[in-house]
Amino acid sequence: MEHTITVSEIDIINQCIAGDQQAQYQLYARYADAMLNVAYRILGNREDAKDVLQESFLKVFRELKNLKNKQGFAAWIKRIVVNTTINQAKKKGLKLVELDYQEPKWELDPDDSEQIDFKFNQVKKALMELPNGYRTVLTLYLIDGFDHEEIAQILNISKSTSLTQYSRGKRRLKEILSET
């Protein structure tokens, strides 16, 4: 993953380590919304996502002084949020890997999707209708920019499982979209 971080952000991080509350708020304000959405896309529930957000930021402020590479802050915080989200999902008993997949009765013609003109609002809605496991892999890969190696590590599954989950999830998403 490629992330860039501005010089002023490094200053803010250093001020946070020194215990400056104003700086803590600045850092929070920059990342909170994006990080809330990372959790929301996996959990599909606003309140659970907010719990994750809180827990993650407490961890961030607690561990910030141990972060060696300040340039890597954006990737680091995202990783903390994703890990906290996965823990929360397990605590809530959400399935993160779909095993009981039913093969669709009819196959989509591979060219079908080329003709469909996707509407963002429909895609957004369909994504939230996906079973948790598919949605997790799909959003981590397509929106959050993790590769399958990283997803496998995060979810404690093999890389090939991540790949199959991904392609099945994508197929399911297309099915949902074609039904609407």
Partner: protein, 219 residues
């Protein structure tokens, strides 16, 4: 890459559509403030002392009455409290209790093989400190809340975590959650030589600082 993948990737930023509100930050700020225990010692005159003893006695009375009613629920294990003893089995089936470790500084750590932050803490932070201090009066007692014995064993072996590992293998149903007020993983308690809690949720630098102060260890 097909059209759908392209579509989603192009709209990445649009998928951030729910927002935080002011209350979220307030909660975080509150909790950050709670984590800094700075008890102030104020000189008291005699009548204030009597009042304080009276209030203290009264609150103890209510506190212990409450504990009796809900014996399983240890709300907030606090610093200076004696860590309630527990005996669990290690992967070989031998029972080890926390009280067996009296005389040592003990880090009691709650984790699970699927908890990435736990395993990261283990590998990057606790392992080097453990290796430095294990022969000088420091021990780690890791309580796993795994259900699957295989996952638990594999996680220990994979990262070569050579300290004490125990579990009841009851997963999320384990009584340790309520007994030790464990709400999130990882959670840890640092105990002194007498088994009293000296800190909760220490990070690597706190731990190292405490150990270097308490244990006479020099390179």
């Amino acid at each position: 890459m097909d059209n759908l993948e392209k579509h989603i990737k192009n709209h990445r930023d649009d998928f951030n559509y729910i927002e935080t509100d002011a209350k979220d930050w307030e909660t975080i700020q509150q909790q950050l403030a709670d984590k800094k225990p700075t008890p102030k010692v104020v000189p008291m005159n005699w009548w204030k002392s009597i009042a304080a003893v009276f209030v203290l006695g009264l609150s103890c009375y209510f506190f212990f009455n409450k504990v009796e009613k809900t014996p399983d629920l240890m709300v907030g294990l606090e610093e200076q409290m004696h860590f309630p003893d527990i005996a669990l089995k290690n992967p070989n089936g031998d029972e080890i209790s926390v009280s067996d470790l009296k005389g040592k500084i003990v880090l009691v750590d709650f984790w699970a093989s699927y908890c990435m932050m736990c395993t990261e803490d283990h590998c990057y932070y606790f392992k080097p400190i453990y290796n430095d201090y294990k022969d000088h009066g420091f021990e780690i007692y890791s309580i796993s809340v795994d259900e699957n014995v295989k996952n638990w064993r594999q996680a220990i072996e994979k990262d070569s975590l050579n300290w004490i590992h125990v579990s009841d293998l009851m997963g999320q149903e384990s009584p340790v959650f309520s007994k030790y007020a464990v709400e999130n993983l990882p959670t840890n308690y640092l105990l002194n030589e007498e088994g009293k809690i000296i800190a909760r949720n220490v990070d690597a630098s706190d731990l190292e600082e405490t150990l270097s102060t308490l244990l006479a260890y020099k390179e």
